[in-house]
């Protein structure tokens, strides 16, 4: 299986204001793919949730710890992976936010957001620590941003 090089790689300090930076980069890439406003908005929002979780829960808000983000465009899929330096967690232990007893809880909707807005959400846990969440969504217009340049060369 060919390795797909990332279109973008970012490493940001664990500060909430950096969520805006990551979202801006991801949405700019998606705009080059000529995705519609709605797709851009929902993918951007899912990425925000992943980065927010990495900053808040993974890295405990410690700005010395980094969040790494990679964006790949592969055969009609957008794939965004977000890695933190945390200890990991058990995704199956997260309560269902749609359960009647949880509906009025202020927190606990981040993973649900991602799963609702993307086609596939996977968690990977490193042997040395760190959590990676991989978000995938099939898109209609998936011409690689560099396609035009490659055709010219």
């Amino acid at each position: 299986m060919p390795v797909v090089e990332p279109e973008a790689y970012l490493a940001v300090a664990s500060r909430f204001e950096n969520i805006e930076l990551v979202q801006a980069v991801v949405e700019d890439l998606l705009q080059r793919l000529e995705l519609g406003d709605d797709d851009r908005h929902w993918i951007g929002l899912a990425v925000r949730e992943a980065v927010a979780n990495a900053i808040k829960h993974g890295n405990g808000g410690d700005p010395q710890k980094q969040v790494e983000v990679e964006v790949r465009i592969d055969a009609g899929d957008v794939e965004v992976s977000v890695r933190d330096e945390g200890k990991g967690f058990d995704p199956s232990s997260v309560a269902d936010p749609l359960a009647p007893e949880n509906l009025l809880r202020p927190g606990g909707r981040g993973i649900f957001y991602m799963r609702s807005l993307m086609d596939k959400v996977e968690y990977r846990f490193g042997a040395q620590g760190g959590t990676e969440v991989v978000l995938r969504k099939r898109i209609k217009s998936a011409a690689a941003p560099r396609a035009e340049e490659e055709t010219r060369s």
């Binding site: 909430f16 204001e17 969520i19 709605d38 908005h41 929002l45 925000r48 949730e49 927010a52 808040k56 936010p97 749609l98 509906l103 009025l104 809880r105 202020p106 927190g107 909707r109 981040g110 649900f112 957001y113 609702s116």
Partner: protein, 112 residues
């Protein structure tokens, strides 16, 4: 994000514009509702017409605001949901919790 408070009869209206998102917008909603309650407000109408994005933290703050107002014996209702905010409330099923109105006059009248 920006929040402007105004009074329409007995109802305190909070006009919210921009992003209700983690770090800034979610705290601003909490603060605005607490200030309104502290100033004697009982019934609060959140006008979300100018909201562009709401993340899970923002949704959480709407829920917190709803329960804070309810605990004081008042009601918190929503008006002017942009389509993307409406979609989020549908997905999270919070549309079944909040009373939502299309126009301000109907929303204000509903508190009576």
């Amino acid at each position: 994000m920006n929040i402007r408070q105004r009074q329409v009869g007995d109802v305190t209206v909070l006009d919210v514009t921009g992003k209700i998102t983690i770090g800034v917008g979610d705290v601003a909603i909490k603060d605005a509702v607490q200030v309104a309650l502290g100033g004697g407000a009982r019934d609060i109408l959140l006008n979300l017409q100018g909201v562009t994005t709401i993340d899970s933290a923002g949704v959480g703050e709407l829920v917190s605001a709803y329960t804070s107002v309810a605990h004081r014996g008042g009601k918190l209702k929503l008006v002017g949901l942009p389509p993307k905010v409406n979609d989020i409330l549908q997905i999270t099923q919070l549309i079944t919790v909040f009373e939502v109105y299309d126009d301000e006059a109907s929303a204000v009248a509903s508190f009576k």
